[in-house]
Amino acid sequence: MTPPVLEVKDLVKAFPVGGFLDRLQVGKGSLLAPQRQLRAVNGVSLTIAPGEVFALVGESGCGKSTVAKTIARIYEPTSGEIRIDGEDVSRLPFRAMLPVRRKLQMIFQDPYASLDPRQRVRDIVMEPRLAQGGRLSRRELQDEAVALLAKVGLNAEQANRYPHQFSGGQRQRIGIARALSVRPTLIIADEPVSALDVSIQAQILNLMKDLRDEFRLSYLFVSHDLSVAHHIADRIGVMYLGFMVETASRDQLFREPKHPYTRVLLSAAPTLDKSNPGTKIEIRGEVPSALRLPSGCCFRTRCPLAFDRCAVERPALKPQADGSAVACHLHDRTDTERMIP
């Protein structure tokens, strides 16, 4: 078996909330309250094989984007390992990260905010390439930029324009060309199509698939849209409140979702397919705050199947017989008596 392109182990990211002054308090023993933590990611593990597309799905605030941006080292991980081609890069200082960035690039969500409005397209797409060092003549720079743009379906004449002269879909193509400029093996895509109209969304998804085949890319694809994830992913991880609650191959996940939350998510998504009659699983309430995680299982406050053990013990992500993995006490035993009806 080929070694994974990306291996993440027990990744934790917590953001401190509030400054020094917010912590001052009166009449509670200590004058200084402990620093509050927003626990965005709580021990997430995942692996991506060469050429594989792994989709992270979940609702807003579930930490999926934070996982992506922590792997790209936009955020510093609080703890855990991030192995790229076997090398742990989670503690690498800034300069030592530079060669790693040749293997790992990122595509962003907002096509309007992810391109510097004051740069020409040529300079935008070549930025990661130039950051790697080495001198390029004007001619070479122009030629390489044009070649990159051609890969994403833009023409040479557009290389000298500014981002505001492009539509949302074209800007997203520019963002993809930028990621390709260093010929990476792994691209982290943070909701790359969620800001686009559906007809444009299809263009971009098709382009990403073509590029994967051409360059044998792996994607970590973050999305809140299950049908998009279904379309592009080989494997899918479902996140809730900073925890990975289930990972499975795409077909397994959609055929036989195991975690109660995955089931809710699948049934709640509106769909055009008439084969899925409107039997929606009812779910109570809303996602708890990441400032105060519930004890035990993260989903127990809304889970229709929660029982005593769920409040006491936090379920670990356990591998199942069919290759998937679930973090739920109902799937903890080999006997089938407690299996979800």
Binding site: E59, S60, S167, G169, Q170, D197, V198, S199, I200, Q201, A202, Q203, L205, N206, K209, H224, L226, S227, V228, H230, H231, I232, F254, V264, L265, A268, A269, P270, T271, L272, D273, K274, S275, N276, G278, K280, I283, E286, V287
Partner: protein
């Protein structure tokens, strides 16, 4: 069939900008009956939100309603003054926006804002009004309604705020609710709850709703009839099931085919080539022709008019698709 509650006839809303006249809504006609949800769909730039704003008289300069009638229960809203429209808004017609904070006042409690609606539209006393508010919050699925009345909007989550906005619209006894992307900012699990709630309340009260959205999946689950807009014009309209199963306009079909579906795994999505044209430079002819796989020379010559195709479907196309499309 009962008279429609709302009839929009040949509505034209133009924006006069530096770069030229933007015909955001250019001859749009449709109607809405009691107890019905009508979906306005299209991509950005299609003009769907502008239709909603035009009905409410919320078009600010440089925009202007140039022509057309908006008949609501027999009265032409397009001819009413701003003064008169103010009493229509929030009363007979309510609006639910994508961001609930645009319709809630952050400095008053939720209870105060609901109470104000009742004071304006009923002659109940204080106690009775409060009881109504509690009842309404419970109906939209807010637990501990009694204590929640004294909370401020920022103390609610996004989904809860949207519920409050809907509760206020229902309290006013609005007969028409215009919902502009009401669930786009919400998570799917919350979205499912809100959609179900809106649908039930509309049907039960015999009110009606116009649902403006880009999401065809939401429309297919919510709307009875659909109006598809492209470049400010209606390209197709008809019953939801018919449009979703066998659209007659190539644009609608392109939209449907570009949505990834879980039931069928396709290696590639069918995409609509190109992008939406610049609406300021549209000449005669069909505005979709440059992206259309069925376009013929005549499409550049003659602007197609909306005409019956089959079943409930009307389409503005010279070459509408057959039921069993190629």
């Amino acid at each position: 069939m009962a008279d429609p509650l709302l009839e929009v006839r040949d509505l034209r809303t133009y924006f006069h900008t530096f770069g030229g006249v933007v015909k955001a809504v250019d001859g749009v006609s449709f109607d809405v009956r009691q107890g019905e949800v009508v979906g306005l769909v299209g991509e950005s730039g299609g003009g769907k939100s502008v239709v909603g704003f035009s009905i409410l008289g919320l078009i600010d300069p440089p925009g202007r309603i140039e022509a057309g009638e908006i008949l609501f229960a027999g009265e032409n809203l397009a001819a009413k003054s701003e003064e008169e429209m103010r009493s229509v808004r929030g009363g007979e017609i309510a609006m639910v926006f994508q961001d609930p904070m645009t319709s809630l006042n952050p400095v008053y409690t939720v209870g105060h804002q609901m109470d104000e609606m009742l004071r304006l539209h009923t002659d109940l006393d204080r106690k009775a009004r409060r009881a109504r508010c509690v009842e309404m919050l419970e109906q939209v699925g807010i637990s501990e309604a009694e204590s929640r009345l004294d909370a401020y909007p920022h103390q609610f989550s996004g989904g809860m705020r949207q519920r409050v906005v809907i509760a206020i619209a229902l309290l006013a006894g609005s007969r028409l609710i215009i919902a502009d992307e009401p669930t786009t900012a919400l998570d799917v699990t919350v979205q499912a709850q809100i959609l179900k709630l809106m649908r039930r309340q509309i049907v039960e009260r015999g009110a009606a709703m116009i649902m403006v959205t880009h999401d065809l999946a939401v429309i297919s689950e919510m709307a009875d009839r659909v109006v598809v807009l492209y470049c400010g014009k209606v390209v197709e309209r008809g019953r939801t099931a018919e449009i979703i199963n066998a659209p007659s306009h190539p644009y609608t079909r392109g939209l449907l085919d570009s949505i990834p579906r879980i039931a069928e795994r396709r290696d590639r999505l069918d995409q609509i080539p190109g992008t939406v044209p610049d609406i300021r430079t549209l000449g005669k002819g069909c505005s979709f022709r440059d992206r259309c796989f069925r376009a013929q020379p005549v499409c550049a010559e003659k602007t197609p008019v909306l005409s019956p195709v089959r079943g409930s479907l009307d389409a503005a196309c010279h070459f509408p698709l057959e039921e069993t499309a190629p």
